[in-house]
């Protein structure tokens, strides 16, 4: 029985691989055992790689011959179903007949493979990344609740200890929301830091590729592997790529922590608010300087992201609308794609003007702060099939509530991470969000790692057992 091994952070697995205390073949077997044990219930995977053991054997040979490529070498990872892969089908979460994508590796998958990672399969996503529940995937902390989305399969797979790392994509929060709801780390890098070439588009100027992982360090290792300019993606920026692992284990004395008291602190569940305030107090007590501020312009952000996301998605699906493939989409996604026609050209451009103002306002704020801290989501995982939630006496849709605190960082294109910062009264994970300046993932990771190593949240695991019944928290 090797399936306990796979639920460990990459640093530990990499050390064991280099010392010959385990093998990549064992780790792949461990992941597959874990899938067999729990994924019948979780349904986090849609496809498994038939050649994973073969790649693992090659990794073992290379490592034993002294050809270690880095922390990901020989480590099993999963990728979201909107990343093209040459040896597995890509469906982007749809089961509509007549839609298939070309079999080739996306740039991120190619870079992961070059770093020695072993791709073991593809994770379930909300259809075409247009939603945040990822049916029928279940949350490992409570299988009656959603894992979030649209990268819900990746969140569930990492939280359940199937893989230490799974790739996601984030257009309005689709990496950070499942990370928050499933109790994992989720990193949305700066727009342009990581190539989107070969990732099925949802909204070109909002889409970001990035990892979900067990720890902050694991996300740093993934970013080291996948970051960089790519001629295949005109959105990537040819800027210097630092060693993101240098952000780990750094002091935070004097780090200026911004706290945006409007928008991010309005209408949060009680448990979420308490955990995030405690996190802010921790930063202050650790020598950081906490600087509160307000950004009234955020009141206009929801209209802006809807205008861009709806019109972009409808433009992308023009062919699927014309040939009526859209009629086989799930109804919630079909409605969103159809309604994009109702957004006018001036609305779209006004939203892009708004983005410019938002970016300028944030640049002004980032002259005084190094990172901005707040909740990732105002609520914890909600019951499957529940479409509204009441927070602070106000009823709103779960869709509207769940991405309220994440989409500003997509509009601005800034790096943002979610990491666990506690549990609510029902034993459900709470996410802390830390955002930074453009291409300053180093300070985001520095603050996140400082918080993580001062707490034991990353060591808490849902005790989902064979057959899928979750027994709750198992620290």
């Amino acid at each position: 029985m090797t399936s306990d091994l796979i639920g460990q952070p990459v640093d530990m697995l990499a050390a064991m691989l280099r010392q010959g205390r385990t093998s990549s073949v064992d780790l792949v077997s461990s992941a597959l055992e874990r899938i067999a044990a729990v994924d019948g219930t979780l349904q986090s995977f849609v496809c498994l790689a038939s050649d994973a053991h073969e790649h693992a054997r090659c990794a073992d040979v290379e490592i034993s011959a002294g050809g270690w490529r880095g922390p990901l070498h020989g480590v099993p990872v999963a990728v979201k179903d909107n990343y093209l892969t040459s040896d597995m089908p890509t469906r982007a979460g749809t089961s509509a007949p007549g839609i298939a994508f070309e079999p080739r590796d996306s740039s991120v998958v190619a870079r992961l493979s070059a770093a020695g990672a072993v791709i073991i399969g593809k994770t379930r996503m909300h259809e075409f990344a247009w939603g945040n529940t990822t049916p029928p995937t279940r949350n490992p902390w409570d299988i009656a609740r959603v894992p979030g989305g649209s990268s819900g399969g990746s969140g569930a797979a990492v939280a359940a200890g199937i893989v230490p790392i799974a790739l996601g994509s984030d257009t309005g929060g689709s990496i950070r929301i499942p990370a928050s709801l499933c109790g994992t780390v989720g990193l949305k890098p700066t727009f342009g830091r990581v190539s989107g070439a070969g990732v099925v588009p949802h909204s070109w100027s909002l889409d970001h590729a990035g990892p979900l992982s067990l720890t902050v360090a694991d996300s740093a290792h993934v970013l080291n592997a996948i970051a960089g300019h790519d001629r295949g993606d005109p959105g990537t920026v040819p800027v210097e790529v630092p060693d993101f692992a240098t952000a780990l284990n750094q002091p935070i004395n004097g780090l200026r922590i911004g706290v945006c008291r409007n928008h991010f602190f309005e209408r949060n569940e009680t448990g979420v608010l308490a955990a995030v305030e405690e996190a802010i107090a921790y930063f202050r007590d650790s020598g950081a300087v906490v600087i509160p501020f307000e950004m009234p312009i955020l009141a206009y952000g929801l209209g802006a992201i809807f205008a861009i996301e709806l019109s972009s998605s409808t433009a992308y699906h023009a062919r699927n609308i014309a040939d009526r493939h859209i009629e086989a989409f799930t109804d919630d996604v079909r409605i969103l794609i159809e309604m994009g026609r109702l957004v006018t050209g001036p609305d779209y451009l006004k939203a892009e003007q708004f983005r410019r103002v938002l970016m300028q306002e944030l640049a002004r704020i980032f002259a005084s702060v190094d990172v901005i801290v707040g909740p990732t989501t105002p609520l914890t995982a909600w019951p499957i099939d529940e479409n509204t939630v009441q927070i602070d006496g106000t009823e709103e849709s779960t869709l509207a509530a769940s991405w309220r605190l994440t989409y500003p960082w997509n509009l601005a294109g800034l790096p943002a991470i979610s990491l666990p910062c506690g549990f609510d009264g029902r034993g459900l994970p709470i996410g802390l969000q830390i955002a930074g300046r453009p291409f300053d993932e180093l300070n985001v990771l520095r603050a996140a790692h400082a918080y993580e190593r001062g707490h034991e949240w990353k060591d808490a695991r849902p005790s989902i057992q064979r057959g899928g019944q979750s027994d709750g928290i198992n620290p």
Binding site: L84, T90, G98, I99, A100, F101, E102, S106, S107, A197, G198, V199, V200, P201, S205, R231, G232, D233, P234, A299, Y300, L302, G303, A304, F306, A307, L310, R319, I335, L336, E338, M339, R341, L342, V343, D347, L349, K350, A351, E352, Q353, F354, R355, R356, V357, M359, A400
Partner: protein
Amino acid sequence: MQNATDETDELFEAIGLDLDTERRSVVLAAFRPIAVEIAKLRSLDLGDVYPAVVFSPVPGMAEEPKETR
């Protein structure tokens, strides 16, 4: 003289929303709260602000996923 239904049909045809009446009602109902948010955005005076999307004459080399059918 056109009646209101004809004009509505023409408007939907003009924006390229080819849906039957029942479906159109469903989409409009779902759009209503979003329209409120977009109306807020319209109320902002941003006339002098350059949009974040900037045109470049250099052709991109996008390798976007191609659907195969």
